[in-house]
């Protein structure tokens, strides 16, 4: 969080356009989509798992929502269909990881491929830009603004506050952290570990679905490439935000700050005129640095 503030502070001096309302509006909207999914990813990572399928689930949910809209159905129905697909993906992931105890990496890697392929199948590789009678509503939802902030940013704010309260005050979140800390002892304590895992994968997929619906409203069209490669940015956000890939740690604000930091780095490089080919190197480097900082902090704790 401090890093985000520091980087933003430096940039507002170095680059004139950085602090402009338009740029900040864009930056915040860009990371809202990622941040939203990173909240769910953080819960998954806190159980010691990982969800590689979020980008593909976004693609599938976006395509399905677009198709249903295009067929003349109202937004509510289309969103329900898109979220339903996301829910199914999450249920499959969660059931395989939780009840059959398969490796989260492999299961969600499979879903990454399956959901993307299904998006291709149902869309027949077409771009969908006719959103039917509710088109204006869809575009306003994802692309509109309210009190100076983009709608997705408002949703992210609400979701982050909700997630923060959830992490601190809900019994389920406590069990999520316990599963990540010591799965065997959590089971011995009588906690339904499989159900806890199922819940976090469903949550992660659903948030990917919500993000997809907002994103097609912002883009005004949807292709089956929607969300491609996002899983890495989402996981990077969660990890930079302090989620421990070994499980047992993670918080809501960390995930949002992580997403913000990645977007700020990308934006700053752009504004400073750095060749965009360098973006990946800087974003990747920041992930590794975040891990190193965490290690140093942990080391000091253990010594004290």
């Amino acid at each position: 969080m401090l890093t985000v503030a520091a980087l933003a502070g430096v940039m507002s001096f170095v680059s004139e356009p950085f602090a402009s309302a338009d740029n900040l509006f864009n930056v915040s909207r860009n990371f809202a989509f990622i941040g939203l999914i990173a909240l769910g990813q953080t819960a998954v990572i806190a159980t010691g798992g990982i969800d590689l399928s979020v980008g593909s689930v976004m693609g599938l949910a976006g395509i399905v929502t677009g198709l249903v809209l295009g067929s003349g159905q109202p937004l509510a129905l289309a969103a329900a269909a898109g979220l339903g697909c996301a829910l199914l993906c999450g249920l499959v992931n969660g059931a395989l990881v939780g009840y059959l105890r398969l490796s989260p990496f492999v299961v969600t890697l499979g879903m990454l491929s399956i959901a993307r392929s299904l998006a291709l199948v149902v869309s027949n590789n077409r771009m969908i830009h006719d959103f039917g009678p509710d088109e204006d509503l869809v575009l306003a939802l994802g692309g509109g603004r309210f009190l100076g902030l983009a709608n997705p940013v408002w949703l992210l704010l609400v979701a982050a506050l909700g997630a923060a309260a959830w992490f601190r005050y809900s019994r389920l979140a406590r069990h999520v952290l316990a599963v990540g800390g010591n799965e065997v002892s959590t089971r011995l304590a009588g906690i339904p570990v499989a159900r806890v895992k199922l819940t976090v994968y469903v949550l992660s997929s659903l948030l990917a679905g919500v993000s997809a619906i907002l994103m097609i409203g912002w883009l005004g069209a949807v292709t089956n490439a929607l969300g491609q490669g996002y899983e890495l940015r989402v996981i990077a956000s969660a990890v930079i935000g302090g989620a421990n890939l070994m499980g047992g740690e993670g918080g809501a604000f960390g995930a949002v700050a992580g997403a913000a930091l990645i977007e700020l780095i990308r934006n700053s490089l752009l504004l400073l005129g750095v060749d965009p080919y360098w973006q990946g190197a800087f974003v990747g480097g920041s992930i590794v640095v975040a891990m190193l900082v965490e290690r140093v902090r942990r080391g000091r704790q253990a010594a004290g």
Partner: protein, 244 residues
């Protein structure tokens, strides 16, 4: 309180326990000793409800019972396992209440974790056990003795009548062993029955009222600690003496 009558346990052709009788009264500490594979853990798992014995009877308050992990807990039997089964990443209070979290209702409807109550109650439990463990500390940062106190406090939460302690003094320092033995004494004073599995002869002699020795699944001794000696028990464990 607890009574086992000619309990036997077979895993296929392997007899882990043969005709074992055991009685345990409230406030009594029984030290269960034996070599690796003598059947100590099997016996403990039967009492904790993890295994159903293949023969014999288990009685609780003089009535036959069929134990499952859940029903054992409901009767007031709590096990503290060797690996302590704690979550390193959570606080002491969170571990004590794991799976039994206290909650309150926000605005009368929304259930939220009651951190203050859990902190207060676990601090009380630690004080009762005479331990310096702090409720807010992460288990990761604790000494072996403090971790043991957390595990015991968790088991104490339901005010159990019988506690099964599996090697509570393994892998901790001498000073911490003294702490754990003190915990056991204070539980005994509060009327809790204790079945203590330990390899450490001196610990068993320090706190147990009675010593039971198993060898290859059979009970070869069951006598008051005062009537026995470390030499005798060693001989019983190894088989130098057949029975006593």
């Amino acid at each position: 309180m607890l009574e086992l009558r000619s309990v036997g346990m077979h895993f296929g052709a392997v007899a882990a326990l043969v005709d074992v009788d055991l009685e345990l009264r409230a406030g009594e500490v029984v030290g269960l000793m034996g070599d690796n594979g003598a059947g100590k853990s099997t016996l403990l798992k039967i009492v904790a409800g993890n295994f159903a014995p293949t023969s014999g009877r288990v009685l609780w308050d003089a009535a036959d019972v069929e134990l499952s992990p859940l029903s054992a807990r409901e009767l007031g039997i709590e096990a503290v396992y060797q690996d302590l089964a704690l979550c390193d990443n959570l606080s002491a209070a969170a571990n004590v209440f794991l799976g039994r979290e206290l909650s309150r209702r926000l605005f009368g409807v929304l259930p939220v974790l009651d951190h203050a109550a859990m902190r207060r109650k676990s601090a009380e439990l630690f004080a009762e056990l005479g331990s310096d463990t702090r409720a807010d500390d992460l288990v990761r940062q604790m000494s072996g003795g403090q971790r043991q106190a957390v595990a015991i406090a968790r088991a104490r939460l339901s005010a159990p009548r019988l506690m099964l302690l599996d090697e509570p003094t393994a892998a901790i320092s001498v000073r911490q062993i003294a702490e754990v033995l003190e915990l056991i004494r204070s539980l005994k004073q509060q009327g809790v029955g204790i079945l203590l599995i330990s390899h450490r002869m001196s610990d068993v002699f320090a706190v147990a009222d009675r010593i039971v020795v198993l060898r290859r699944g059979r009970k070869v001794a069951d006598k008051p600690t005062a009537d026995s000696s470390a030499q005798e028990v060693t001989a019983l464990i190894t088989g130098a003496i057949e029975a006593a």
